[in-house]
């Protein structure tokens, strides 16, 4: 391959990866486009240093040297404060262009044909890949349905922007949940909802109106009851007391 052809091919590759990056192309296509970074820089390095190896050795060297070049490229991008997607593309592009310029592409030949696979063996390989596919599907399914504990979270935190208390409930299960919610202060009920339905795989955010009196801190407790009136989740926050953040900001 001539140097000019290699440089043109590199320019097209860079453009294609950039377009795929910006255009949010499907991951499979982007992976296909990005895959040469795991081989070509190393392959060009071999040419650059005029190192001739048998095909298998050349392949192994190319893979490892490419990984090595990505490592060094990353260090250089860190120094240039450019460890971003664009930085990687430009960095790898520049390194590859340099390797081509220093003669890396001179000895790149078309790949040699590998011993052909007989038709019967092709069928065998296809069956094998189909079998592997079923194994992958089965294991992915098992992993997804493996949920030994119910995912139901409740939280009560002070909203940074408004300073108000915010209650959140997240139902991580696929089925809807019907619960009861009670929010109480000290000696008073702030809110009592006998029926509260939280849809499956959704989060419910609910502001809690409590007036904080600095001189009289009050513990606000929220309790989530399951169907049989057992406590499912319980959270508690002290309002009115100075927290560390308040102390820090007031300089106390």
């Amino acid at each position: 391959m001539t140097r000019r052809t290699a440089l043109v091919a590199l320019a097209f590759w860079t453009l294609a990866v950039h377009v795929a990056m910006v255009g949010q192309a499907p991951p499979a296509l982007r992976l296909l486009l990005a895959a040469p970074v795991l081989y070509m820089p190393g392959r060009l390095t071999l040419g650059c240093f005029n190192i001739r190896q048998p095909p298998l050795d050349r392949g192994l060297s190319s893979l490892l040297l490419s990984i090595g070049i990505l490592i060094m490229c990353g260090l250089a991008l860190h120094l240039a404060q450019a460890l971003t997607p664009a930085g990687w593309l430009i960095g790898v592009g520049i390194v590859t262009a340099l390797l081509i310029a220093f003669g890396g592409a001179a000895d790149i030949e078309p790949p040699r044909p590998i011993p052909s696979l007989q038709p019967a063996l092709v069928g065998q390989v296809v069956v094998a890949l189909a079998l592997a596919g079923t194994a992958f599907r089965a294991t992915l399914h098992d992993a997804r349905v493996d949920r030994p504990f119910e995912v139901l979270e409740m939280w009560l935190v002070k909203d940074a922007a408004t300073g108000r208390l915010q209650l959140g409930i997240h139902n991580g299960e696929s089925a809807d949940k019907t619960l009861a919610l009670e929010i109480r202060g000290e000696g008073r009920i702030v809110e009592d909802r006998r029926t509260l339905t939280v849809r499956g795989n959704s989060t419910m955010l609910h502001p809690v109106d409590v007036v904080a009196v600095p001189e009289k801190p009050e513990a606000i407790t929220a309790v989530l009851y399951a169907k049989n009136d057992t406590i499912a989740r319980r959270v508690k926050v002290l309002v009115g007391a100075k927290q560390s953040a308040d102390l820090d900001s007031s300089g106390e």
Binding site: F49, L56, S61, L64, L65, P115, L131, R147, W155, L156
Partner: protein, 672 residues
């Protein structure tokens, strides 16, 4: 004339352990065919369904899953071993089969946790990769493994692929590790083949190597040693083949080795030092061998670079390698000394910290794996030192001085360290050293065992029955090696307390995700080992870690009262939140400890009580801000803010606090 009796005795011993049979070397005579690799691929892919089935049963807690799983692992290796080690086959055919076996053993790790990272070390490096990806910068602080960001060789190509291909870190890591696995199997095969000049010895040695305790488990994980080990093999091969190559190729090999050393130095500290040491040993052999034409200059140059690269990198980044590794090594050596002197009984083999033991049959397989290697070393060590790949053609006798093949001698000497790694593995403190070193030493041990096997098998036992016996033994060695390295954790089970990958489940993941979304990043958390890694990676928090010098915090969870001592831990550790996993009260952890090394022994070898874990509920100045059923999060910033006489935090805490405030970017809905 009769020989003196000592000469006869020595001849008998030498016949048993040292005499080489040149006819043991195999020359391939049959042309390459895809038939055997395609068949192995078919059997492997069919067997993967059995692996998936066993893992599924394991998740449901079925006892039969253990038998099915280990049988399926054996079936991944056995048929391939049979076909790869047959006499007179083309070496490329053997290599294709070995690559399939190697990748299938990598897939076992994938089938264990197919949708995300699942092992402790993977989380440590995931955090570093996330930092690079999100902060667009290297060397960010990683509290769960502070040394990891200083060796970003694994994470950089992973992140590069993520950024360019738009895939997740997990997907990218699977590709990088699959490449590493492919290259490592090829390199091992080539090292053995070039040293022995026999594809069959190389195939046997490669399968024996797969039986080391790290191959199936640790070197299939996303950890820096996994990639560094491939660079080690690459440099080792280039150095070993200097001997046989002509002058031009020697310089090419030297150039490639020199190019690879910086990448290795940036990837893993220990592997780069070991590579330098082994390169120096091989160079020494070339220098000492009294034969002309030795590649001394090339070997010397590679050795110099192999030493210089890690030293230069260490000088640049000043890693805490000493404080990180020295106690481990010293403690391991002391424990080994105690074991050898009989002062201590050593580690309980095949028993996890929670008392779970490996089934007896599997224990026997594990022990037999080591025993096979030991027997192979006994019969093969001197044969390796006197190994002469050209003996058949040259018609000369084996000799110890001058040795015929420096690469064989180097592998033999490496194999001589194998008993030491086994001894380390018997100790409590040195177990990890033995486990880590075993993969390096096994490169030599595998070659010696293969020499031993072929000496006794090759010339006489070539029939189908003997081949079947050999493949069963090799399959058993690989299964045994996996049991030794992975134990019961290789198979998924129902949730277990403190069992790393087996303890990661949707609630823990959801809580970590919630912490990031609601509390923002970079908060200082106290949590147990498993939730700590989830908080660090998914939550992007800063869990306290005694590894980095944070104050011990296990005491927070072992008392019914939240008194002065506990409050002092919160203040001196500058803790923001405490995560309490109530399930820890149900059982002892399967892996080592709950919170920090030694915590169980320090608290009477019992789990923390539920009332101890829930004591924060009774503290007026602690908010219970989040409840996920099994996991509760407490806000302890109110405790921290109270000005009481406290022990001043050490300088590093102050340093971390500065970093913390710089790195905290308030996110949407964040509660500062």
């Amino acid at each position: 004339m009769t020989l003196p009796s000592w000469r006869r005795a020595w001849s008998a011993i030498w016949w048993l352990i040292g005499r080489s049979d040149p006819s043991a070397l195999d020359a391939h005579t049959l042309p390459f065919s895809w038939r055997a690799p395609a068949f192995v691929l078919l059997v492997t892919c069919a067997d993967l369904n059995l692996v998936a089935y066993a893992q599924g049963l394991g998740r449901e807690g079925e006892a039969s899953s253990v038998f099915i799983f280990w049988l399926s692992v054996f079936l991944l290796v056995g048929p391939g071993a049979y076909l790869a080690t047959r006499p007179n086959r083309d070496w490329k055919e053997r290599l294709a089969i070995l690559v399939i076996i190697g990748q299938s053993l990598h897939l076992i790790r994938f089938f264990h946790t197919p949708t995300r990272f699942g092992f402790f070390d993977e989380f440590l490096h995931w955090r570093t990769a996330l930092d690079i990806l999100e902060l667009h910068s290297l060397f960010a602080f990683n509290s769960i493994l502070p040394i990891s960001p200083l060796y970003p060789g694994l994470e950089l190509p992973t992140v590069a692929l993520c950024e360019l291909a738009g895939i997740s870190i997990f997907a990218s890591s699977i590709i990088i590790i699959a490449i590493a696995r492919f290259v490592s199997v090829c390199l091992l095969f080539l090292i053995f083949r070039e040293t022995a000049r026999s594809g069959r010895i190389a195939a046997i040695a490669t399968i024996v190597f797969m039986g080391n305790s790290s191959f199936g488990n640790f070197h299939a994980q996303y950890a820096y040693e996994t990639l560094a080990f491939v660079f080690f093999l690459y440099i080792l091969r280039l150095v070993l083949t200097l001997e046989e190559a002509d002058a031009g190729v020697r310089w090419d090999n030297a150039k490639l080795a020199i190019l690879a050393t910086p990448a290795l130095a940036v990837t893993h500290h220990l592997t780069s030092y070991l590579t330098a040491a082994i390169a120096a040993s091989v160079a020494l052999l070339y220098f000492l061998r009294p034969v002309r034409g030795q590649p001394r200059r090339q070997a010397g140059l590679v050795m110099a670079f192999a030493f210089a690269a890690p030293l230069v990198w260490a000088w640049l980044i000043k890693p805490p390698t000493g404080p990180y590794l020295t106690p481990l090594i010293l403690e391991g050596l002391a424990d080994l000394g105690r074991l050898l002197s009989g002062a201590s009984g050593g580690r309980k083999l095949f028993v996890a910290s929670d008392g779970t033991s490996v089934p007896l049959l599997l224990q026997l397989l594990g022990m037999s794996s080591v025993l096979f290697v030991a027997v192979g070393l006994f019969f093969g060590f001197f044969r390796t030192l006197t190994f002469d790949p050209a003996a058949k053609d040259a018609g000369r006798d084996a000799s110890l001085w001058p040795w015929r093949s420096s690469s064989a001698v180097a592998l033999g000497l490496l194999a001589a360290c194998y008993p030491l790694t086994v001894a380390f593995r018997l100790t409590v403190a040195g177990w990890e050293i033995g486990n880590r070193l075993s993969s390096f030493v096994s490169v030599g041990a595998a070659f010696v065992v293969a020499i031993s096997i072929t000496h006794f098998f090759q010339a006489r036992w070539r029939g189908r029955r003997s081949m079947t016996i050999l493949s069963v033994v090799l399959g058993a060695m690989v299964v045994g090696g996996m049991i030794n390295g992975w134990g019961v954790a290789a198979l998924r089970t129902t949730y277990k307390v403190g069992a790393d990958g087996q303890s990661v489940e949707p609630v823990g993941l959801a809580v970590a995700e919630w912490s990031r979304r609601t509390l923002g990043q970079g908060n200082r958390f106290v949590a147990d080992r498993v939730n700590g890694i989830l908080l660090s990676t998914i939550g992007r928090q800063l869990p306290l870690s005694t590894l980095f010098g944070d104050p011990g915090f296990a005491g927070l969870f072992y008392d019914e009262k939240f008194s002065y001592a506990e409050r002092n831990i919160v203040r001196s550790g500058d803790v923001d939140y405490v995560l309490v996993d109530l399930r820890l009260s149900q059982a002892l952890p399967r892996v080592g400890h709950y919170y920090e090394p030694g915590d169980i022994e320090a608290h009477g070898d019992v789990p923390p009580r539920l009332q101890d874990l829930l004591k924060f509920d009774r503290a007026a100045d602690v908010d219970r801000i989040m409840d996920a059923g099994q996991i509760v999060i407490y806000d302890v910033r109110g405790v921290r803010s109270v000005r009481l006489p406290v022990i001043d935090p050490p300088a590093w805490v102050a340093c971390r606090i500065c970093w913390l405030h710089r790195s905290r970017a308030p996110g949407e809905g964040e509660t500062p």
